[in-house]
């Protein structure tokens, strides 16, 4: 039997960037999920979107797994990066760029700079 935890582990090990979110990358169903998906899409980061609304086991499972009470949750190379506030802060500070660079994940630096310009 596959448990929610197995599914989560498999998702975060077989994909470099995973966003556990409400809704999908193309159709987010929550403003906080939408914000991170929007940033990643805009920066051209390839990521797997996991819609927690489609699976109650994963919805609760991811919160227990990362000891984090809210959705969205961003994982890079199997490591929990943070939720909406942390990822937003890291985008503005440039730490997200560094994290992606260090992990060899392609993204548009120009797009990231544009986000910073319009939120600086």
């Amino acid at each position: 039997m596959t448990t929610a935890t197995d599914t989560i582990k498999s998702d975060i090990t077989s994909n470099d960037v995973v966003l556990f979110m409400k809704g999908t990358s193309q159709m987010p169903q929550c403003g906080f999920s939408s914000r991170i998906a929007g940033v990643l899409n805009y920066m051209g980061v390839e990521f797997k979107d996991v819609n927690v609304l489609a699976d109650e086991g994963v919805r609760q499972g991811i919160k227990d797994f990362s000891d984090w009470p809210t959705i969205p949750q961003l994982y890079v190379k199997g490591e929990f990066v943070g939720g909406c506030d942390i990822v937003t802060e890291m985008t503005i500070s440039g730490e997200l760029d560094t994290l992606l660079e260090e992990n060899g994940i392609a993204f548009s630096k120009d797009a990231a700079d544009k986000i910073r310009e319009s939120n600086g």
Partner: protein, 80 residues
């Protein structure tokens, strides 16, 4: 279910005695807050760990459908 700003502040203060806590009620509905927490206890910890300490202080009030607090935008730092 709503929660009062001073309840949030008190819970954080109890868990992190050194903390300076500022709470904003974003929507005026007692459900969507922004909190800035500056605490000595955060020194040397990354943001995920800092936020986890705040969530722990709130003792399940963020938890899903039964949570009284739907959204808490968090900013945490250690004092400069």
């Amino acid at each position: 279910m709503a929660i009062e700003a001073h309840t949030i502040e008190a819970l954080i203060q109890e868990a992190l005695p050194s903390a300076k806590v500022v709470i904003d009620d974003l929507a005026g509905d007692g459900n969507h807050y922004a909190a800035t927490v500056i605490a000595d206890e955060f020194k040397g910890l990354n943001r995920v760990k800092q936020h986890q300490m705040v969530y722990a202080a709130l003792k399940g009030k963020m938890d899903g459908a039964n949570g009284e607090l739907h959204a808490l935008a968090l900013t945490t730092k250690a004092p400069e």
